[in-house]
Symmetry: C2
Subunit: 184 residues, 2 copies
Amino acid sequence: MLDISVAAFNDRGYDATSMGVLAERLGTTKSAIYYHVAGKEDLLRLALDKALDGLESVLEEPGARNGSPADRLRFVLRGAVLVLVRELPYVTLLLRLRGNTELERSALERRRRFDHEIATLVDLARADGSVRTDIDSRTITRLLFGMINSIVEWYKPDGSLTPDQLADDVIAIAFGGLQQPAER
Amino acid sequence: MLDISVAAFNDRGYDATSMGVLAERLGTTKSAIYYHVAGKEDLLRLALDKALDGLESVLEEPGARNGSPADRLRFVLRGAVLVLVRELPYVTLLLRLRGNTELERSALERRRRFDHEIATLVDLARADGSVRTDIDSRTITRLLFGMINSIVEWYKPDGSLTPDQLADDVIAIAFGGLQQPAER
DNA sequence: GTCTATACAAGGATAGAC
DNA sequence: GTCTATCCTTGTATAGAC
């Protein structure tokens, strides 16, 4: 039920999805939904928690805490991509929030904290020379996130591009850019 | 009036923005708005046209049509960033569409055509060796767009980062990645 | 051109039968 | 657990005075 609801939210936008069409897609009635959840916002809360729990768990793993800054950054970027793909609909919903309600604002706040931890890693990697210093650190972080977050807008889990391959590609482009990589 | 309306749409989302709050932010009443425009969707149409006209104009310029594929790609990316910043609120609105109505779907179709022209440029640049061939061409294009489009989510026109500097940064990161650029 | 008042539909949510 | 019927609010839009 949560899955179908979130799919509907992502198709039409949370606000534009009425309990009526939700009931329709669930093959039931509005009232039946209210037996299971307190209301529309309850469904949103469940979905956002899944997304945020997944993302935050990446930062808890040993690979995110030990090693060189560049390696930690690579680990976290890979982890973020994998979670994003694994929890695709939930993260999609999270990334499209506008902060209209208290619930939405607190979810955005949690997301900001996650972003901030990665920004810190970028700074560390700059300090030890593994990330370029000719461009402002926040600009780098934001463009990096833009690239990764955009995945929810086009990645199809049933296509031929596997999550691992996608993560490899993201890291290769993030660190090396569009140019042909040097032989080694 | 269009500016204020679009700002409201971007703050709260188009669907979540009622004519009531719109009137409030305009310092007038709902009825007064209807004197000037046919309805809420009319405001959306005006805004989307501005965004799409701006983006499409980039492809018409001589720099987008002449020169090496890599130079054309650089020109178009720079142009897209500059339009995106110049028409920031309008492009923001465009990039957040879900395609709920016929109007939204036709705008998305115009946007897809724009994206497709740039994808073609990436392919040309790959063919002549200026873009890496170890990663799928569509993946590259999508990550590239993700990075650029994300700008609407964080760029503040009144900050210290100028549009030209931003465009330089985007192109530097897009082609060279996070690594420190080689001396030259 | 802008206001007040209001029509009319749609949306979220509940009551109560089954 | 799910249905029908219904309440109340909000939303888009219009009528008509000023």
